[in-house]
Symmetry: C2
Subunit: 155 residues, 2 copies
Protein backbone atom coordinates (compact mmCIF):
# COMPACT_ATOMS: atom_id res chain seq x y z
CA UNK A 1 0.00 0.00 0.00
CA UNK A 2 1.79 3.08 -1.22
CA UNK A 3 1.56 5.96 1.14
CA UNK A 4 0.64 8.19 -1.76
CA UNK A 5 0.45 11.81 -0.90
CA UNK A 6 -2.84 13.49 -1.01
CA UNK A 7 -1.72 15.84 -3.79
CA UNK A 8 -0.50 12.95 -5.79
CA UNK A 9 -3.79 11.22 -5.35
CA UNK A 10 -5.74 14.23 -6.33
CA UNK A 11 -3.57 14.84 -9.35
CA UNK A 12 -3.95 11.29 -10.46
CA UNK A 13 -7.66 11.58 -10.22
CA UNK A 14 -7.66 14.87 -12.13
CA UNK A 15 -5.70 13.44 -14.95
CA UNK A 16 -7.54 10.20 -15.21
CA UNK A 17 -10.70 12.19 -15.45
CA UNK A 18 -9.16 14.12 -18.31
CA UNK A 19 -9.14 17.49 -16.60
CA UNK A 20 -6.19 18.64 -18.67
CA UNK A 21 -7.99 17.83 -21.88
CA UNK A 22 -10.90 20.21 -22.12
CA UNK A 23 -12.58 18.36 -24.94
CA UNK A 24 -12.34 15.13 -23.16
CA UNK A 25 -14.39 15.77 -20.10
CA UNK A 26 -17.48 14.54 -21.82
CA UNK A 27 -16.56 12.80 -25.02
CA UNK A 28 -18.68 14.08 -27.85
CA UNK A 29 -19.67 17.23 -26.05
CA UNK A 30 -17.50 20.16 -26.81
CA UNK A 31 -17.70 21.44 -23.29
CA UNK A 32 -15.01 22.65 -21.00
CA UNK A 33 -15.01 22.02 -17.32
CA UNK A 34 -15.81 25.68 -16.80
CA UNK A 35 -18.83 25.48 -19.02
CA UNK A 36 -20.16 22.42 -17.31
CA UNK A 37 -19.54 24.02 -14.01
CA UNK A 38 -21.23 27.23 -15.07
CA UNK A 39 -24.33 25.42 -16.21
CA UNK A 40 -24.48 23.61 -12.92
CA UNK A 41 -24.09 26.79 -10.95
CA UNK A 42 -26.85 28.49 -12.88
CA UNK A 43 -29.11 25.53 -12.52
CA UNK A 44 -28.89 25.78 -8.77
CA UNK A 45 -28.49 29.39 -7.85
CA UNK A 46 -30.96 31.00 -10.10
CA UNK A 47 -30.07 34.37 -11.60
CA UNK A 48 -26.45 35.27 -11.16
CA UNK A 49 -24.60 38.27 -12.42
CA UNK A 50 -21.44 37.60 -14.33
CA UNK A 51 -19.38 38.81 -11.43
CA UNK A 52 -21.14 36.38 -9.15
CA UNK A 53 -20.65 33.55 -11.55
CA UNK A 54 -17.01 34.52 -11.74
CA UNK A 55 -16.57 34.20 -8.05
CA UNK A 56 -18.19 30.80 -8.12
CA UNK A 57 -15.99 29.62 -10.96
CA UNK A 58 -12.97 31.51 -9.72
CA UNK A 59 -12.55 33.07 -13.11
CA UNK A 60 -11.58 36.57 -14.14
CA UNK A 61 -14.48 38.69 -15.34
CA UNK A 62 -13.15 38.77 -18.88
CA UNK A 63 -13.06 35.00 -18.96
CA UNK A 64 -16.58 34.90 -17.62
CA UNK A 65 -17.68 37.34 -20.24
CA UNK A 66 -16.43 35.15 -23.04
CA UNK A 67 -17.64 32.01 -21.38
CA UNK A 68 -21.21 33.19 -21.03
CA UNK A 69 -21.11 34.68 -24.50
CA UNK A 70 -20.45 31.22 -25.81
CA UNK A 71 -23.14 29.69 -23.71
CA UNK A 72 -25.56 32.33 -24.89
CA UNK A 73 -24.59 31.69 -28.47
CA UNK A 74 -25.44 28.07 -28.05
CA UNK A 75 -28.73 29.14 -26.66
CA UNK A 76 -28.17 27.67 -23.25
CA UNK A 77 -28.00 30.83 -21.22
CA UNK A 78 -29.89 34.09 -21.33
CA UNK A 79 -28.41 37.42 -20.38
CA UNK A 80 -31.06 39.79 -19.26
CA UNK A 81 -30.21 43.25 -18.05
CA UNK A 82 -31.19 43.91 -14.49
CA UNK A 83 -34.04 46.39 -14.42
CA UNK A 84 -32.70 48.12 -11.36
CA UNK A 85 -29.08 48.22 -12.43
CA UNK A 86 -28.67 47.86 -16.12
CA UNK A 87 -24.97 47.20 -15.78
CA UNK A 88 -25.79 43.79 -14.47
CA UNK A 89 -26.32 40.82 -16.69
CA UNK A 90 -28.67 38.44 -15.02
CA UNK A 91 -27.73 35.00 -16.18
CA UNK A 92 -30.20 32.19 -16.33
CA UNK A 93 -30.41 28.89 -18.07
CA UNK A 94 -32.67 28.84 -21.05
CA UNK A 95 -35.00 25.91 -21.33
CA UNK A 96 -32.58 24.31 -23.68
CA UNK A 97 -29.78 25.05 -21.27
CA UNK A 98 -31.66 23.45 -18.45
CA UNK A 99 -32.27 20.42 -20.63
CA UNK A 100 -28.62 20.21 -21.53
CA UNK A 101 -27.63 20.57 -17.95
CA UNK A 102 -29.97 17.81 -16.93
CA UNK A 103 -28.55 15.64 -19.66
CA UNK A 104 -25.05 16.44 -18.54
CA UNK A 105 -25.83 15.60 -14.98
CA UNK A 106 -27.38 12.37 -16.07
CA UNK A 107 -24.43 11.58 -18.24
CA UNK A 108 -22.05 12.23 -15.42
CA UNK A 109 -24.14 10.28 -13.02
CA UNK A 110 -23.89 7.31 -15.28
CA UNK A 111 -20.19 7.69 -15.31
CA UNK A 112 -20.23 7.86 -11.54
CA UNK A 113 -22.31 4.84 -11.38
CA UNK A 114 -19.73 2.90 -13.34
CA UNK A 115 -17.00 4.14 -11.12
CA UNK A 116 -18.94 3.70 -7.96
CA UNK A 117 -19.76 0.15 -8.77
CA UNK A 118 -16.13 -0.51 -8.36
CA UNK A 119 -16.03 1.00 -4.91
CA UNK A 120 -17.35 -0.58 -1.81
CA UNK A 121 -20.20 1.20 -0.15
CA UNK A 122 -17.82 2.23 2.52
CA UNK A 123 -15.42 3.73 0.02
CA UNK A 124 -18.20 5.61 -1.67
CA UNK A 125 -19.28 7.13 1.57
CA UNK A 126 -15.70 7.93 2.45
CA UNK A 127 -15.14 9.62 -0.88
CA UNK A 128 -18.13 11.86 -0.52
CA UNK A 129 -17.43 12.69 3.06
CA UNK A 130 -13.79 13.38 2.40
CA UNK A 131 -14.35 15.56 -0.63
CA UNK A 132 -17.06 17.51 1.05
CA UNK A 133 -14.83 18.20 3.99
CA UNK A 134 -11.96 19.10 1.73
CA UNK A 135 -14.01 21.55 -0.17
CA UNK A 136 -15.10 23.16 3.04
CA UNK A 137 -11.50 23.49 4.14
CA UNK A 138 -10.45 24.91 0.80
CA UNK A 139 -13.16 27.49 0.93
CA UNK A 140 -12.09 28.62 4.31
CA UNK A 141 -8.40 28.84 3.65
CA UNK A 142 -9.13 30.23 0.17
CA UNK A 143 -5.70 31.80 0.38
CA UNK A 144 -6.52 34.82 -1.74
CA UNK A 145 -5.65 33.80 -5.28
CA UNK A 146 -4.22 36.45 -7.58
CA UNK A 147 -7.49 37.67 -8.91
CA UNK A 148 -9.17 37.35 -5.57
CA UNK A 149 -12.81 37.16 -6.42
CA UNK A 150 -14.42 40.08 -4.73
CA UNK A 151 -17.07 39.16 -2.28
CA UNK A 152 -20.29 40.11 -4.00
CA UNK A 153 -21.05 43.08 -1.84
CA UNK A 154 -24.26 42.18 -0.14
CA UNK A 155 -24.60 45.89 0.33
Amino acid sequence: MEKTSFDQLLMDVFREMGAHRPEQILPGWSLTLSEIYALGALAERAPLSQAELGSVLLLEKSSVSRLVAQLEQRGWVTRERDARDSRLRLLRLSEQGAAINAQLQRHMSERHAELFEQLTAREQAALLEGLTALRRALRQSQSRPAHTPAEPSAD
Copy 2:
Protein backbone atom coordinates in the same frame (compact mmCIF):
# COMPACT_ATOMS: atom_id res chain seq x y z
CA MET B 1 -27.98 20.32 2.78
CA GLU B 2 -27.31 20.21 -0.91
CA LYS B 3 -27.03 16.79 -2.32
CA THR B 4 -23.93 17.84 -4.18
CA SER B 5 -22.97 15.47 -6.89
CA PHE B 6 -19.65 13.84 -6.87
CA ASP B 7 -18.60 15.59 -10.07
CA GLN B 8 -19.61 18.87 -8.63
CA LEU B 9 -17.57 18.18 -5.56
CA LEU B 10 -14.57 17.18 -7.52
CA MET B 11 -14.84 20.18 -9.78
CA ASP B 12 -15.10 22.48 -6.83
CA VAL B 13 -12.00 21.00 -5.39
CA PHE B 14 -10.17 21.32 -8.69
CA ARG B 15 -10.97 24.94 -8.99
CA GLU B 16 -10.28 25.90 -5.46
CA MET B 17 -6.93 24.30 -5.82
CA GLY B 18 -6.35 26.43 -8.88
CA ALA B 19 -6.09 23.59 -11.32
CA HIS B 20 -7.31 25.78 -14.13
CA ARG B 21 -4.64 28.37 -13.52
CA PRO B 22 -1.32 26.71 -14.26
CA GLU B 23 0.80 29.33 -12.58
CA GLN B 24 -1.26 29.19 -9.50
CA ILE B 25 -0.72 25.69 -8.38
CA LEU B 26 2.29 26.67 -6.38
CA PRO B 27 2.43 30.40 -6.12
CA GLY B 28 5.87 31.66 -6.95
CA TRP B 29 6.85 28.55 -8.82
CA SER B 30 6.28 28.70 -12.46
CA LEU B 31 5.23 25.11 -12.65
CA THR B 32 2.31 23.50 -14.32
CA LEU B 33 0.45 20.58 -12.88
CA SER B 34 2.02 18.39 -15.51
CA GLU B 35 5.49 19.44 -14.57
CA ILE B 36 4.93 18.81 -10.92
CA TYR B 37 3.41 15.51 -11.75
CA ALA B 38 6.29 14.59 -14.04
CA LEU B 39 8.87 15.34 -11.39
CA GLY B 40 6.97 13.19 -8.95
CA ALA B 41 6.71 10.34 -11.39
CA LEU B 42 10.42 10.45 -12.13
CA ALA B 43 11.26 10.63 -8.46
CA GLU B 44 9.48 7.37 -7.90
CA ARG B 45 9.84 5.26 -10.96
CA ALA B 46 13.40 5.77 -11.82
CA PRO B 47 14.40 5.97 -15.47
CA LEU B 48 11.43 6.36 -17.75
CA SER B 49 11.35 6.82 -21.46
CA GLN B 50 9.32 9.70 -22.73
CA ALA B 51 6.67 7.36 -23.98
CA GLU B 52 6.39 5.84 -20.56
CA LEU B 53 6.19 9.20 -18.91
CA GLY B 54 3.52 10.08 -21.39
CA SER B 55 1.41 7.17 -20.41
CA VAL B 56 1.75 8.10 -16.77
CA LEU B 57 0.81 11.70 -17.41
CA LEU B 58 -1.72 10.80 -20.06
CA LEU B 59 -0.10 13.22 -22.45
CA GLU B 60 0.60 13.00 -26.14
CA LYS B 61 4.20 12.32 -27.02
CA SER B 62 4.66 15.75 -28.52
CA SER B 63 3.48 17.33 -25.30
CA VAL B 64 5.84 15.13 -23.35
CA SER B 65 8.67 16.11 -25.60
CA ARG B 66 8.25 19.79 -24.89
CA LEU B 67 7.54 19.22 -21.26
CA VAL B 68 10.75 17.33 -20.64
CA ALA B 69 12.68 19.74 -22.82
CA GLN B 70 11.65 22.47 -20.44
CA LEU B 71 12.51 20.44 -17.42
CA GLU B 72 15.87 19.66 -18.91
CA GLN B 73 16.47 23.29 -19.66
CA ARG B 74 15.89 24.11 -16.06
CA GLY B 75 18.37 21.46 -15.19
CA TRP B 76 15.92 19.30 -13.34
CA VAL B 77 15.84 16.34 -15.65
CA THR B 78 18.49 14.53 -17.65
CA ARG B 79 17.83 12.85 -20.95
CA GLU B 80 20.31 10.13 -21.53
CA ARG B 81 20.12 7.99 -24.62
CA ASP B 82 19.56 4.36 -23.93
CA ALA B 83 22.73 2.45 -24.78
CA ARG B 84 20.81 -0.47 -26.17
CA ASP B 85 18.26 1.53 -28.11
CA SER B 86 19.37 4.99 -28.85
CA ARG B 87 15.93 6.08 -29.84
CA LEU B 88 14.96 6.03 -26.21
CA ARG B 89 15.49 8.96 -23.94
CA LEU B 90 15.99 7.76 -20.43
CA LEU B 91 14.65 10.41 -18.16
CA ARG B 92 15.93 10.90 -14.66
CA LEU B 93 15.87 13.65 -12.12
CA SER B 94 19.09 15.55 -11.81
CA GLU B 95 20.27 16.23 -8.30
CA GLN B 96 18.80 19.63 -8.58
CA GLY B 97 15.59 18.14 -9.88
CA ALA B 98 15.43 15.79 -6.97
CA ALA B 99 15.99 18.67 -4.62
CA ILE B 100 13.27 20.67 -6.29
CA ASN B 101 10.94 17.77 -6.16
CA ALA B 102 11.59 17.28 -2.48
CA GLN B 103 10.97 20.92 -1.91
CA LEU B 104 7.77 20.73 -3.88
CA GLN B 105 6.58 17.79 -1.93
CA ARG B 106 7.40 19.55 1.28
CA HIS B 107 5.65 22.65 0.12
CA MET B 108 2.58 20.70 -0.79
CA SER B 109 2.67 18.79 2.44
CA GLU B 110 2.57 22.02 4.31
CA ARG B 111 -0.40 23.06 2.34
CA HIS B 112 -2.04 19.75 3.17
CA ALA B 113 -1.28 20.21 6.74
CA GLU B 114 -3.13 23.50 6.76
CA LEU B 115 -6.05 21.94 5.02
CA PHE B 116 -6.02 18.83 7.07
CA GLU B 117 -6.04 20.72 10.28
CA GLN B 118 -9.46 21.82 9.30
CA LEU B 119 -10.68 18.28 8.82
CA THR B 120 -11.52 15.91 11.56
CA ALA B 121 -9.35 12.84 11.77
CA ARG B 122 -12.25 10.89 10.48
CA GLU B 123 -12.63 13.14 7.47
CA GLN B 124 -8.95 12.92 6.70
CA ALA B 125 -9.08 9.18 6.71
CA ALA B 126 -12.21 9.23 4.61
CA LEU B 127 -10.62 11.53 2.08
CA LEU B 128 -7.59 9.36 1.61
CA GLU B 129 -9.56 6.19 1.48
CA GLY B 130 -12.07 7.61 -0.91
CA LEU B 131 -9.54 9.10 -3.29
CA THR B 132 -7.43 6.01 -3.29
CA ALA B 133 -10.41 3.91 -4.16
CA LEU B 134 -11.50 6.33 -6.81
CA ARG B 135 -8.13 6.32 -8.45
CA ARG B 136 -8.17 2.57 -8.50
CA ALA B 137 -11.56 2.59 -10.14
CA LEU B 138 -10.48 5.15 -12.69
CA ARG B 139 -7.44 3.15 -13.58
CA GLN B 140 -9.51 0.09 -14.16
CA SER B 141 -12.21 1.66 -16.22
CA GLN B 142 -9.54 3.77 -17.94
CA SER B 143 -11.26 2.60 -20.93
CA ARG B 144 -10.43 4.43 -24.00
CA PRO B 145 -9.33 8.00 -23.85
CA ALA B 146 -8.93 9.53 -27.29
CA HIS B 147 -5.21 9.24 -27.55
CA THR B 148 -5.18 6.00 -25.67
CA PRO B 149 -1.74 5.86 -24.22
CA ALA B 150 -0.14 2.73 -25.44
CA GLU B 151 0.65 0.27 -22.78
CA PRO B 152 4.37 0.59 -22.27
CA SER B 153 5.39 -2.70 -23.65
CA ALA B 154 6.76 -4.54 -20.71
CA ASP B 155 9.06 -6.04 -23.24
